[in-house]
Amino acid sequence: MQMSKEHGWRRARPWLIGLAVVLLYVWAFSGIPMNSIKSQALEVTHSILDGLFHPDWSYVYTGDGEDLIAALLETLAIAFLGTFFSAFLSVPFAFLAAKTKKGFQFKSSLGKTILTIIRVFPEIVLALMFIKAVGPGAYAGVLAVSIHSIGMLGKLFGEAIENIDRGPSEAIVAAGGSGLDALTLATLPTVLPEFMNYTLYRFEIAVRSAAILGIVGAGGIGAPLIFALQTRNWPRTGIVLLGIIVMVTVIDFLSGKIRQHLV
């Protein structure tokens, strides 16, 4: 009796899961008004594509600091400084979150919860909060990237610390070294290549977020982009888009090459 009941549940399970997924999606699609597309959608798409193929080349360099190159460099500077600071800020959080004993460890759970909260906190809101403190501009962007990146870097660094071989640091302590000696002579040298690898990876992501932070006024290429979109200046939109795509691709490529050397 018990057996056949189990059997029936087994056969019904995929159907029940399927039904649940279908119901979930019926609900999801019901929330998206499909008829809300503007009538000129095709026309606008055409203009954007046209702008991409006939970009406003004169905007690339004008020499007055209001051009594409300057904006892209500012974006890179925001991403670089933000990642640089967060790489240092993440280390204490990483050591807090790393689980170094078997079983439940309060400091590790606490650290992981803090990092999750930082990770989930929207970067744009952070940028707006910092704009309140330092005024609009690239500095607010740097602060937002620095704080937001701690969430992910702290998690990755912490996992790197969890995965290392404890032998060397135990040996140093056994030979009479202090905890600080074990940290500086055994733990840090082991995790440093991985830390740098993750920092570079995070830099790739930071370049993307720095490119959009300008939408709220935190410096970088985002502001000229949103301005060009709102004034329907399609050739300008095209060149800014091309600039962002080229910048992101080049950075990904370079960072990938360096990371191959590190690992």
Binding site: L24, Y25, W27, A28, F29, G31, I32, P33, M34, S36, I37, K38, A41, V44, T45, I48, L73, E74, L76, A77, I78, F80, L81, F84, T116, I117, V120, F121, P122, E123, I124, V125, L128, M129, F130, K132, A133, V134, G137, A138, Y139, V142, R208, S209, A211, I212, I215, V216, G219, G222, L225, I226, L229, R232, L241, I244, I245, V248, T249, D252
Partner: protein, 260 residues
């Protein structure tokens, strides 16, 4: 040869490589600081006042944001589904073991790389211009964003499959379509589902801010409360987003562990 080894020792002795890298990083750092002008003072009273207001969430605002938060989840679900469905054929076209023609593969990968280079909020800004303000723009942005991300994960999954079954089918006279349906797809279903859930997690997170640009969901209220300086309400929003993201993440992690 002798001099070469001495030179090698010289550059090693003085840590030339490390010094150069440090110098380079220092230079980039200096240039960045100059470019940004970090000397601006940090106004702590403004910041503390903001934090103090956010520390007292206005819970009466909560009923207002329930519907937009649900809409955010709906957008993420639909966008992830459409993006993933679009990604399947492209991932097969970009996989080294299925498409032998390097030009076609290269072209598809180039296209995917370009799509992946565009940040999610930028896509939202573009689609708000194209389809107008509303959740539809958000769905489009998430579709394209997850398409770019998922295709890469998918073709890497396809490239790691066991070639045995497809070789056996080809030897027995099956054509390409039959090989894909009976040998490739059964092997990649589980990683595909797992990546689908992973993308859903990222999309839920992304969709909470898309509304800031008018692309539907809870982000619109983020913009409204912030521009009206109602930080107590912003705090409610952030807590709501935090709760949704945590629930979706843990559900998805649970399901992905079951799939693995």
């Amino acid at each position: 040869m002798n001099t070469a080894s001495i030179e090698g020792k010289f550059s090693q002795k003085w840590h030339l490589k490390g010094l150069l890298i440090t110098l380079l990083i220092g230079l980039i750092f200096w240039a960045s600081v100059r470019d940004i002008g970090v000397e601006t003072t940090f106004s702590w009273d403004q910041f503390w006042q903001l934090l103090a207001e956010m520390a007292h969430p206005d819970w009466s605002y909560f009923p207002v944001i329930v519907k937009p938060i649900l809409q955010t989840i709906q957008m993420a679900l639909v966008g992830t589904l459409l993006g993933t469905l679009l990604a399947v054929p492209f991932s097969f076209l970009a996989a080294r073991n299925l498409v032998k023609n390097p030009w076609l593969r290269g072209l598809v990968r180039f296209f995917l790389n370009i799509i992946r280079a565009i940040p999610d909020l930028l896509l939202a800004a573009l689609f708000v211009a194209i389809v107008g303000i509303g959740p539809m723009a958000g769905v489009c942005a998430l579709t394209v964003f997850s398409f770019g991300m998922v295709s890469k994960l998918f073709y890497e999954a396809v490239e790691t499959i066991d070639e045995g079954p497809s070789e056996a089918l080809t030897a027995a006279g099956a054509n390409t379509i039959q090989t894909i349906v009976f040998a490739v797809i059964p092997q990649v279903v589980n990683p595909f589902l797992s990546y689908f859930l992973y993308t859903l997690e990222i999309n839920v997170r992304a969709s909470t801010v898309l509304g800031y640009l008018g692309a539907g969901g809870v982000g619109l209220y983020l913009d409204q409360t912030l521009s009206m300086f109602r930080y107590d309400r912003t705090a409610v929003l952030i807590l709501g987003i935090l709760a949704v993201v945590l629930v979706v993440d843990s559900l998805s992690n649970h399901l992905r562990e079951a799939l693995a």
